[in-house]
């Protein structure tokens, strides 16, 4: 009996040595298949999150990814509304407002889970307590329509946008909807104070909600200048052949790291873990860079040649704790300044 047991341990040890990941994964995959589904609340742009869901579904046949895409603040709102009513529906939460995750962590609503390989990610992508990790990053940038505005005239810095010549010609997204814009506003408030936004509001901006929406608004020429917006979506829109130019201001560009976490009450915890492992794998992180125009924390991922390297830019970062603490203040002041 003892011998057999020893043999088994040795055998198991040999298998694990040979492929330490697969054995563990096989059990997880099997458990995930049994659950059959993972519900992903995400703020990643709809085409991108749909694409990732399809990559996953193709790799792990029989596990459906139910994508619920909305703005970061709406994702949080829905998640909280469900939780308050005792509904356990969401498996994975993913927004671009790192502050959301501090809030959820403090309320004990997250499951501690560390996907493989994230140890090598930069510090800005990791929660020290191990509840959430950044699955993607993007920048909040200025963009303009080169059919309407020549490169010479185009705004190049954040302060250029305060010039009255842009009155009625600019579009902004909303921090009450978008985590990217929440991060953007905090970063610029820390750099220039609220005066910056007070002066910006005098230029009568067109207000949209999502950080992805300005790309379409600028490309269609409805407003030729976007004063913020997610760089990956601008980049994707540009790659589709639309008239767009992206400006990375020299004074600094807000970097937005978007974390992902598993809900404590996830109804499909194994599928959620498998999906989380999947999105942090090098394969998926490379896909995010190649197909979706995103930056990632994975050290081995390479980026399209026509995108600037993050280390070439001066980055403005926002702290997750500060984002959480000033969330209400930012929404309130922004709404007061811009009217809605």
């Amino acid at each position: 009996m003892k011998k057999v047991g020893l043999c088994f341990v040795m055998l198991a040890g040999a298998v694990m040595l040979a492929s330490p990941v697969t054995a563990q994964d096989a059990a997880l995959i099997q458990a995930a298949r049994k659950e059959g589904k993972v519900v992903w609340h995400t703020s990643l742009a709809l085409p991108s999150s749909t694409a990732i869901a399809h990559y996953f579904q193709n790799k792990y046949k029989g596990i459906e990814v139910e994508v619920h895409r909305n703005g970061s603040q709406r994702v949080l709102q829905r998640f909280m509304q469900e939780a308050a009513a005792g509904i356990k529906n969401a498996d994975i939460v993913h927004t671009s407002d790192a502050g959301n995750f501090e809030l959820l962590k403090d309320k004990g609503m997250l499951l501690k889970f560390t996907p493989q390989g994230v140890a090598a990610f930069p510090d800005g992508f990791k929660d020290k307590a191990g509840f959430y990790y950044g699955m993607r990053a993007t920048l909040s940038v200025i963009a303009y329509n080169p059919k309407v505005i020549s490169e010479k005239d185009a705004p190049k810095t954040w302060k250029d946008l305060l010039n009255p010549r842009w009155s009625g010609k600019m579009v902004t997204a909303h921090p009450g909807y978008s985590g990217i814009i929440m991060t953007h506003v905090l970063a610029l408030v820390n750099a220039y104070g609220w005066d910056y936004f007070r002066d910006l509001a005098k230029n009568k901006l067109h207000i949209v909600q999502s950080a992805n929406d300005p790309a379409g608004v600028v490309a269609s020429g409805e407003r030729p200048v976007g004063v913020n917006g997610s760089e990956y979506f601008y980049y994707k829109t540009l790659k589709q052949g639309n008239p767009l130019k992206i400006v990375y201001p020299k004074e600094g560009v807000p970097l937005v790291v978007s974390p992902v976490a598993i809900a404590k009450d996830a109804p499909h915890p194994n599928a959620a873990k498998l999906f989380t492992e999947f999105i942090f794998s090098k394969e998926s992180q490379q896909l995010l860079a190649d197909k979706e125009g995103l930056y990632t924390g994975h050290p081995e991922v390479t980026y399209p040649a026509d995108k600037p390297k993050l280390k070439e830019l001066k980055l403005l970062t926002a702290d997750a704790d500060e984002l959480e603490k000033r969330n209400a203040e930012i929404k309130k002041r922004f709404t007061e300044l811009f009217g809605a």
């Binding site: 709809l46 703005g71 009513a85 207000i207 999502s210 409805e222 009217g339 809605a340």
Partner: protein, 575 residues
């Protein structure tokens, strides 16, 4: 039961509550329907008043104080009042003019015109508003581009993201309500008085001005109030056209209060003025329309003759189609174009043509199928059960089956004064906590829609019963059928087309509903209108266009199907 009452019962025989209870085995059905109705109406309203007045410490007016001292909230109220007043005025002018032309003149093509007015009615205002952002956005809007190309001007012809722009779009989708109201009245006004005026030497326009108009005045005021109320309760159009310009209305403000951390107490307190305002207006409307001071408007008496437009026929016809192109042709055209384009603002050339929006919407985007399934399930279930409940209630009130039955009319019509978003605030408060957690399922939406659509179903069923003499039913009861069987076998078949009309109104009302759904949906219970609104917030123009087109197509198919089934133009005679 007191002895005296029993005595009365014995003497009178067939009237009174208790008599009914003992003699009729179907009693539980009638009383059950009545209780359900009262419960549906009182629960959400009670929840709102409670949430706005009570907190942990007890009764307080703090929320009202907070709401009515906050500059932003006051501004939202002010914006709403201005917008709704203008929408009322414009909708009455357009609706009344069109109704007059269609019913009282020899304008050609009346049937297509009525059908197009109906199409405007079926178009959800949020979809119309979305289409108009593509038509009249100041820079990329198709009409403004055309205007610049033709005139060489630098300026935009109109900017839809302004208060006038919002008023314009809301009026486009409110005038059909006024149209049907006025058209009904105009068809009833006999020509006798007009003839008298003409004999006395007035020309036909003077006659219209001095005789017809005053006769139609109560209906005009009623139409104004209806359009005013309609725009007061709209959420989608103000959110799509107002928010980008920094313009809040009461409904968008209530919606914003649901953002995390939610302020349900403030949302409830902020709902109360909206509720009181609509109640007051309905009371005024009832007073005006209920006063039968214009007895010439009645029954089948008198004849009516059509005014000859003469040479004016063609210009008038063009004018009418001009208005209808604003509410139907142009928006539908731009939606279809956006659905088929890679870049909606570019001309639709081969290079720009794509079917990707369709394939994405149907095969890649998971929400589409779930939402379509939920929407049609809700549409069919609500329409069926709603018609059933409305029929039972209308039957109870019409036959006055028990004492106090006529007060049920009040409850059945009460949702008229409850804007969808206010109803949703109340239902959200009730059904997100035990004993009954409906939030997270589509059934909370079902309760909301059933409540909201009850007035339409009820008034349709009631007017149908009024037109059917009870003698046939009495015959069946004498032979021994109970009330339910008589209703099912005799009266309901006679009332068929009216009830089918009620069914389709409820169905259409459900599938185009946004203002209640936007607060009550959960990720697993999305409906098409909510998905479209979500997509709008992200700016997914192509996919919205696909879903919008689909929604319109299905609505029309249902109406055509119903008309074919009922064998007459049921929908065009909406009360």
């Amino acid at each position: 039961m007191p002895a005296s009452q029993t005595g009365t019962f014995r003497r009178v025989g067939y009237t009174g509550w208790s008599a009914f209870r003992f003699k009729d085995p179907t009693f539980p059905v009638w009383i059950g329907a009545a209780i359900l109705l009262v419960f549906l109406m009182l629960l959400p309203l009670g929840a709102i008043f409670r949430a706005s007045l009570w907190d942990d410490t007890g009764l307080t007016l703090n929320r009202y104080f907070e709401v009515f001292t906050n500059e932003q909230f006051l501004k939202a109220i002010w914006n709403t009042l201005i917008i709704s007043t203008w929408v009322g005025v414009l909708a009455v002018m357009t609706g009344a003019l069109l109704a007059f032309l269609v019913t009282r003149t020899d304008l050609p093509w009346k049937k297509p015109i009525r059908a197009l007015v109906m199409a405007s009615f079926v178009t959800p205002p949020f979809l119309g508003a979305f289409a108009w952002t593509l038509l009249a956005g100041p820079n990329a809007g198709a009409l403004n581009k055309l205007y610049r190309a033709v005139t060489g001007s630098e300026e935009a012809l109109f900017n839809i993201f302004t208060m006038p722009g919002l008023i314009f779009v809301m009026a486009l989708y409110s005038f059909p309500f006024v149209f049907s109201m006025i058209a009904n009245v105009c068809e009833l006004i006999s020509s006798d008085l007009e003839d008298a005026a003409e004999i006395l030497g007035a020309n036909k326009w003077r006659t219209a001005w001095t005789v017809t108009l005053p006769l139609a005045m109560p209906a005009l005021i009623g139409g104004f109030i209806l359009a005013f109320l309609q725009s007061l309760s709209l959420f989608g159009a103000p959110a799509i056209l107002g928010l980008p310009a920094g313009l809040h209305t009461i409904t968008t403000q209530i919606w914003a209060l649901f953002q995390y951390p939610p302020r349900l107490d403030l949302a409830a307190a902020f709902s109360v003025p909206l509720l009181l305002a609509t109640m007051a207006l309905i009371a005024v409307q009832k007073k005006i329309l209920g006063r039968k001071g214009y007895s010439t408007v009645g029954g089948k008496g008198g004849q009516k003759r059509l005014i000859h437009l003469g040479l004016g026929r063609v210009p008038v016809l063009l004018f009418v189609f001009g208005i209808l192109s604003l509410s139907v042709f142009l928006p539908y055209w731009i939606l279809l174009k956006a659905a088929l384009s890679k870049a909606w603002a570019m001309p639709l050339t081969w290079d720009n043509f794509t079917l990707h929006n369709f394939s994405f919407a149907f095969f890649e985007y998971g929400d589409t199928q779930r939402a379509i399934y939920n929407t049609f399930k809700l549409g069919i279930v609500t329409a069926t059960l709603g018609t059933l409940l409305a029929t039972l209630i209308a039957y109870v009130t019409h036959r006055n089956l028990f004492r106090g039955a006529r007060y049920l009319t009040f409850f059945a019509l009460a949702p008229l004064v409850i804007p969808g978003i206010v109803l949703a605030v109340g239902l959200f408060i009730v059904y997100t906590r035990p004993p009954l957690v409906l939030y997270g399922t589509i059934w909370i939406l079902f309760v909301a829609f059933l409540t909201k659509e009850m007035p339409i179903g009820f008034s349709q069923a009631e007017s149908t019963f009024k037109s059917i003499h009870p003698e046939l039913e009495d015959a069946s009861r004498i032979i021994g059928a109970n009330r339910l069987i008589s209703l099912k076998d005799i009266t309901a078949p006679l009332a068929r087309s009216g009830l089918i009309a009620a069914w389709s109104f409820i169905f259409i009302g459900v599938i185009r509903e946004l203002s209640a759904a936007i607060l009550l949906f959960a990720p697993s219970s999305k409906v098409v209108s909510v998905v479209i609104f979500d997509l709008k917030e992200e700016g997914q123009v192509g996919v919205i266009a696909v879903l919008g087109t689909l929604m319109l197509a299905v609505s029309f198919l249902v109406i055509l199907g119903v008309q074919w089934f009922a064998g007459r133009d049921v929908v065009a005679t909406r009360e």
